[in-house]
Symmetry: D2
């Protein structure tokens, strides 16, 4: 008989849906000893929470997240709200002894992030930040190849996250759908929203970033607020480019923008090592490109690995279908949850923990500071 874990999902938007779907699917595809039970869905608007609860099969909906934190029957709090609410909720959850799964980025800034880390570590509760792209099978395979030493010494790490949805000056900021453009809710623009993913993956694969040098731009200077209709200055970064040094001596080049016409969510990375190189592209997320210099030169070339083999060769894929059949974006959240539940079952930490995510927050902070001050900025190691 499986141990049941009663879950409260806070936030019923895009991320609320991806997390809830994972809670519903995980036990069908992964043999974990702990099974999530959808107990309560929570949103500011109680009706919206109830409708969400009905659609997804939660026991109930609630318009009061503080009340939910206080309930003894809730085991896990899953925070899927805008960034400016992460700290308050996570700290309350930790203090209530709940396990916590929190959407990325960890916090609005490093100071908030530190408090969150302190809270979960003091409470000793299981914690994980949802940098889900780590658990796309091709990305996980890349990490495995690096850890096996197949690339040798690494020279270069490059990542881009390119979008084009905010080019029109008609797009508002703030509100439910466009809070990511409102610095009050999001903290920063592409840096916290998109580069945070790139940085998390990069440091996981290639070790700590020690210093960074950045340039940012805000192309559209004013936008109407979605709720108030008032024209306001835009406080976020529309685009951010930075280069950096990793502790292992390799060079990093990162860029994100929401003004790259033709790209919907083009997160790519490329890693160049002494012996081999790797490329990946979220737009074809089930593929990993691999170039190995040790291949016979006659037939040497970039391989397009269709990461769908189901016999154990490709991470996570033995849980799904048969070779050649893809999974999608949503499954990365199922993998994340399976790993988290497995770690909870074994009483071990799961990465990226709040502490891991704090390090990503520090890099983001260094990047923004560098851009503001036109100079290299060091990233503190702890």
């Amino acid at each position: 008989m499986k141990r049941k874990l009663k879950v409260a999902v806070i936030g019923c938007g895009f991320m609320g849906r991806t997390h809830t779907n994972a809670h519903r699917q995980v036990a069908n595809f992964f043999d974990v000893g702990i099974e999530p039970v959808l107990e309560v869905a929570c949103a500011t608007d109680a009706d919206r929470a109830q409708a969400f609860a009905d659609k997804w099969g939660f026991t109930s909906g609630s318009g009061d997240w503080r009340e939910v934190m206080g309930r003894d029957d809730i085991d896990l709090v899953d925070i899927c709200v805008p960034n400016n609410l992460h700290a308050e909720m996570a700290i309350a959850a930790a203090e209530a002894g709940k396990m916590i799964l929190c959407e990325k980025p960890l916090a609005m800034d490093v100071a908030e992030g530190r408090k969150m880390v302190d809270a979960v570590e003091k409470a000793g509760v299981a914690n994980l930040v949802s940098f889900n792209y780590r658990r796309v099978p091709a990305v996980t395979l890349a990490k495995q190849l690096i850890d096996q030493g197949k690339l040798g010494k690494i020279f270069h790490y490059r990542a881009q996250f390119l979008q084009d949805w905010t080019i029109s000056t008609e797009v508002p900021q703030g509100g439910t759908a466009t809070w990511r453009l409102d610095s009050a809710a999001a903290g920063s623009g592409v840096t916290g929203d998109l580069l945070a993913h790139c940085i998390d993956t990069a440091m996981w694969q290639n070790g700590p970033i020690t210093r960074a040098n950045a340039m940012t731009e805000t192309f559209v200077k004013e936008r109407v607020h979605a709720d108030t209709g008032e024209t306001q200055p835009v406080g976020i970064d529309d685009a951010c480019t930075f280069f950096c040094r990793f502790e292992n001596g390799s060079l990093g080049n990162f860029e994100s923008t929401r003004y790259a016409r033709g790209h919907k969510a083009k997160y790519t990375f490329e890693i160049n090592g002494e012996h081999a190189s790797i490329r990946w592209d979220l737009h074809d997320l089930h593929r990993l490109e691999w170039s190995d210099h040790r291949d016979d030169e006659e037939v040497r070339g970039w391989r397009s690995i269709h990461v769908t083999d189901a016999g154990g060769e490709h991470p996570y894929m033995d849980h799904w279908w048969v070779p050649g059949l893809q999974i999608g974006y949503a499954e990365s959240f199922v993998h994340q949850l399976a790993d988290f539940l497995g770690a909870i079952e074994e009483g071990k930490p799961c990465s990226p923990s709040f502490r891991d995510a704090l390090q990503t927050q520090k890099v983001c902070a260094a990047v923004l500071e560098s851009a503001a001050e036109d100079r290299w900025v060091d990233v503190p190691a702890d």
Copy 2:
């Protein structure tokens, strides 16, 4: 309050999983007035059925499909078993007044198929055959573009379904995992298993096939049976190539094999029209390639459409995530079920019905007959 539809899934293998997952997901993503309830999972082995039922949340498991058919509370029978059992089960279900979702191909042969069509039409029960690839968004988009007349007169239709999993002579035939290689269970080889998909999609998009000329080959002549360990002759076609004529005057070229090293499940089609052409590849199922001669020549070229827009432009995608984020193979079954439930709700037929699938069965039969007799064979229109 939604109408509940009690479902019996017969068969707990690969297809049992894809169908069950669709039953579990459909109401979370689609607003249909009818909601499936997982009532009973059925397999020859009652323990296996029970384990499957437990894993996926069915009310119960059963080792006796006939008993299930007799239950008054079952509304929909979902047949996910080897081909040789389709007819008997479907006819029994029809006679018991159940709605039926049946895996493809419809039957072992045309005669069986006709009986199945007669049974469901006589009983007046909702019926659908699971040619799921029609409901991959990029494939559905291709159909829409054709129906809008954007290709103009069509000259060519080409499809291939290439695999490589049976090249080793060590692969057995028969049994649970390899029944597709056993002519007694599968009826035919690549023709019924893979080309049936290609033919279904082709006739849906491009109209009836009227005559065909085929060549087949069985590369490995004998295999060990998975259950008995006895070496037996192989009765299936390992490879099949055919060309054909469509009623609209276009030429078809179809090929399938399980001896195409390097291809896992490479189902591709290409359609060449007077004004534009379309290509698709299951290995990158979220993309559609489009070439439009009416574009300015200076910038004319094949477009790679990432069929993930969520604002209504791309079929089904408004039900999932945000632009740029892929879905996978499994979602095609969710779409299929959503459409079937919607049709049931409206009291309308849903395609491909048993009758539609019978036409595909006739093409398969003509192909096999042509290969056996080395001559063109006509496909009867009804």
Copy 3:
């Protein structure tokens, strides 16, 4: 001091240019002991011949090919005229003891081809037919990999040659620019013009084709003649699909059409062997795709080999630039000439000889006969 070879180029159109360019470039890039000298350019229209001669640096131009054949100082006759003139010119050249380079296809039909073979063999003159695509480095590399046994037993050979330039009914037939659409000048349509290339490459790589089964179509039934302005029936095949058997047991699937919207000159082939597969596409002619099942499964995938390495690993490429820098279409003619000159120097035959090309002619004839008679047709071995 290099031996000089005085060359007469007959025909000053598209092929006259590719061949003349090769004569001009070969000694700059290849160390062959024989150097071509551009002696005379010949065309029906003497002024056109003279203008061509001036542009390309021939000693003179001529409007009388028979006179050219009679000149003692001409060593090599290079035939670049429409198909219906090949036999007469080649036989005259052979009788005059000239070496012969002849454009493809060899002849209008097998009977003509046999006479041409007889003529060159009787005269004992060096002879080569210009199936230039064999000498695209990636195609030559494919041949090498097959000959090394890297594919193991071959199961499938597929080739397509797709174009779209004759879809408009306004395109005339006959005349200088569109003689390929006039059966009187071309003999056949896509079969002789395009499939002949595919068949030549296929038999070179994979051995003899023994029997074929074909379907052809002429989509536009009447066209205006370019010279006379009269509307005439179209006598050529606009599209041709055939499947076939190779002597080695593998299955072939070939298709060509000029009605594949969006394709300019898309000649592709794919070869599936027991251990590995190969793909190639003329539209990216410097790349070869390679999938090797013996690679570790974790990183197994199709490799895109950029066939531009200059250290001897990639055929012909040590004669050009540095790794990564492409050559184009024209260089395949330079390679062909370098090989022919090398063979002449060594007194050896060079393939595809007239005799080799006759075998391709026989396959084309079998294909056309099969399509006309709706049945399999055997290809005579000699």
Copy 4:
């Protein structure tokens, strides 16, 4: 009767070959009123010069470039030697009243470059620097699309030039084959050799770069000298990344390295505008990728334009073959020469002139200074 232009090619290495080939081919493919005559090939080693002259059909070879400059019959000096010799030779040529085609980068540094500009402008001689990639048809097409305003306001310009040929510590520096690794001969590493190309193309397409911020690295600190066998410190930059501002408000991100395993000569750029985006890759140089937001969303996607149309739609391609048939790297030098000769004929300047190339030199200098001093550096406008 065409005007003849007597050419001296100085340097018989890789670039000597590409330039000489262009001189030989230009009049066969382009109707320019001036025809180059290969008069003298020059190299430090007179025997090598003579062998080169014999192979390529120069009237003579010479081991003394100063003597060549003094010859009255030489009209055009084509400088194809290491960077440290450009200034001295070009200034001598200018003073002798010769027209000059000079390999890139213009000079070792800005000071040298200024002297060269002064010399050619004072002498009033035709001058061009060989940034040949501008004349790859796909790159030229990109420029045309930008100039037509099809991209609208430009937000981002990204370029990379990635190689992997110096990863081994065994590669020497200096000498004939590896002078590019020797700072004494090359001036800088990837910045002058590779990024200079990217910067030239970028400013041609997108206007002036006003300031830059860079990071460089030298991964291998010591190498053996190819001539002396002595181990010496490496003085060049192995890798360089910089971001920058363009005068038009767009952001630039540039990177080059010779430590990107798997890349031979991967020069790519991407330009993101308000309405459309462009991508290009030297490894498939005949293709341009184009994404236009004004396309119907249903069929919107990146187009792969095969820039081989011969009817005038694609730059330069009406001079070569038929649609679908590629040209290669070498043809970019033919185009450059055709344009230069055409400009000479018309008495107009041709870009990139020495003055244009000086601006690229200034950006390179700013980049290197920025990397050395860890700060933003402005690029002087003149």
